[in-house]
Amino acid sequence: MAVKKEKHPMPEQDPKERIKNFNEVPYGYSKETAIEEAKRCIQCKNRPCTKACPVEVDIPDFIKELAAGNIDKAVEVLKSKTALPAVCGRVCPYENQCEGKCTLLKLGEPVGIGRLERFLADYERKKGVKKPKKAKPTGKKVAVVGAGPAGLTCAGDLAKMGHGIVVYEALHAPGGVLMYGIPEFRLPKEIVHAEVDFIKSLGVEIRYDMVVGKTITVQELLDEYDSVFIGTGAGLPNWLNIPGESLDGVYSANEFLTRVNMMKAYDFPHHCTPCTVGNVAATFGAGNVAMDCARTALRMGAKKSYIIYRRTEKEMPARNEEIHHAKEEGIIFKLLTSPVEFIGDDKGKIKAVKCIEMKLGEPDDSGRRRPIPIPDSKFSIEIDTALVAIGQSPNPLVPQSMKELVTEKWGNLKVDENSQTTVPGVFAGGDIATGAATVILAMGAGKRSARSINKFIMSKKSK
């Protein structure tokens, strides 16, 4: 039987409708479609897809079970490698990872691995998640700093090994970027809560309002626990450093998305945190964060929402699906364009952005062609809101609070091959160690760290 060239399409909300709500855009596969899609997999012996997954999900194996209709077994295989499949199945940049190496690409489209993971995770969640077997309590205690994907994964794995885990989180909600950054229409918060509940059901305690470095120090944690894991992420927003950046109406992506997602400004004034976009919003940058900003701006009532980016579509770092959805929703892409100044009115409120046109020159260190300004090409766009989404750096709070924790060039914590920092017993992973990366890499780091921590604490006396 010939293999179908394209992925089975996933039904989605109509773009014209969805820009008026925060509901999730794709609806997910039905069981029948999922099984049909699973049948497209040709079960390659050399497993190129698995090799391209940062956590080495046994892709052909879970797909085989799914194709045979053994859904519970498929879930089990999948979950043995990824702690948050419902999340990865939605936000993983699979086109550069598993799906990017799928043999079927030679024929047409790859197997929809992400979509299948999403289906399995959703199926299991609706049915009620089975609690996994837990090892006997070891009497060891580990403190995890930060309840993002790295911290939660590490906490979950360590709890399964029988250790006592307490997570210290600065904010009032768990999930890190999954909660405050990635919008509801891409990752419903109900899913994040379900994943967190699962981890709590393993006996993990989460303490909120705990800014480590302020409320409690790493040294104090080290005195009380057998080991500490730091997963504080890359929360520090980068700026364009152009005139006018502190005008009213200029937000960092983090502030804008936190106001809307975590503080629920879309429900203002019933939720008390305000956030307004006016008629025209412009987002600077072209990664996932930028797409989230531009699409959120539409849903917050903007009539026009621009993406302003200094390179071309080819260099845009966002996932293909995000770019595709953004285009469908009518986001206006101003490419090869760079902002030079924000212009305000007499009340200090932004009214326009002055831009310059760019062309691509020689490749830079990252291998991407460097954008260079075209002389005399300046022009202005009238805007009511500017959203700066040009990247985040590692959060300096924890490193600054303990000078023995050595950082590297970009402010990321230095770790060895076992994820141990320069302080014995203190491990780190996720964006704080790598700089802003992806959910799956953060989870992978959390998993690896859990293994190292287990080895470390089992070889020393309990506290």
């Binding site: 600065a170 909120y208 409320t215 502190s246 005008l247 960092s252 502030e255 004034p269 300096p396």
Partner: protein
């Protein structure tokens, strides 16, 4: 959850509360602040730590009812609980024995100044305090601050108590009298801090101000609290809230603090609170 242990009305729209939050009390230092959220739908708002009791595990806050959240907070009673109370945030004040220091508090800015005055006195400074308010009924913490001050002045705009005029008049006189002032702390409305900083700049007299931009997380994540200091972007929640007054762009701070004025008025109207 963080229960309210004590509540006092200090003046027409200023209230004091003691909140049980042992982990904050344990670490608190003069100059730092907390962020609280009343309930599930609440906004996160920053308030300075006015006092703390490490043994009882309580933190004192003093707030002026200016908008939705502070007004709602004012309606809560002893025994009610706050959903979130996180801190201590920001960097503590640089307390050391400078010699003679002048501490200027304007309006509700007197609250954050109080623990600074107390600590400065404890390490041996000659403390000169100047409290200013629009009128007598808006003054607060007079007795508490007097206790830790070697010299004590009051100014009111309308002359209902103390010197009629501004805090800066008294400061000017102290300078003219040849007091050997080593450093000035000025905390209050932005315009007051600006006036004081402009005055002391002429005499190259080091001046610390405490900035109050609108905040969200308080951990350096959102950048909403950014202020321009010495031409550079700084985050008040992690690099501040205290800065060198001679380097702060006050005009920009005033603009940024008006960011959500329209929305807040709207929210207050809907919630039935008047601004």
């Amino acid at each position: 959850m963080y229960p309210i242990m004590e509540k006092k009305k200090l003046s027409e729209n200023v209230k004091l509360m003691k909140i049980e939050a042992p982990q904050v009390a344990k670490k608190a230092k003069a100059g730092q602040f907390i962020i609280l959220r009343i309930d599930e739908k609440g906004e996160r708002i920053p308030l300075t730590i006015t006092d703390f009791d490490r043994d009882k595990g309580t933190v004192t806050i003093i707030f002026m009812e200016v908008g939705k959240t502070t007004k709602q907070l004012g309606t809560l009673a002893i025994g009610d609980k706050l959903l979130n109370f996180v801190g201590p945030l920001g960097l503590p004040s640089d307390i050391e024995n400078y010699g003679t220091v002048v501490c200027i508090g304007g309006g509700v800015g007197t609250a954050p100044l109080y623990p600074i005055i107390r600590e400065l006195k404890k390490v041996g400074n000659h403390v000169i305090s100047i409290l200013g308010a629009r009128n007598k009924s808006l003054l607060m913490l007079e007795e508490e601050i007097k206790e830790y001050s070697d010299e004590f002045f009051i100014t009111t705009d309308d002359g209902s108590k103390g010197h009629k005029g501004f805090v800066s008049d008294v400061l000017q006189k102290l300078i003219d009298d040849g007091k050997d002032i080593k450093i000035v702390w000025a905390i209050g409305p932005v315009i007051m801090m600006k006036v004081v900083a402009n005055l002391t700049k002429k005499y190259d007299l080091k001046t610390i101000v405490s900035l109050n931009p609108i905040m969200v997380d308080g951990t350096g994540m959102c950048g909403g609290c950014r202020v321009t200091v010495d031409g550079k972007i700084k985050f008040a929640c992690v690099h501040g809230p205290e800065f060198d007054g001679h380097k702060v762009d006050f005009d920009n701070l005033m603009l940024r603090n008006r960011r959500f004025m329209k929305e807040e008025e709207h929210a207050c109207k809907i919630a039935g609170v008047k601004i």
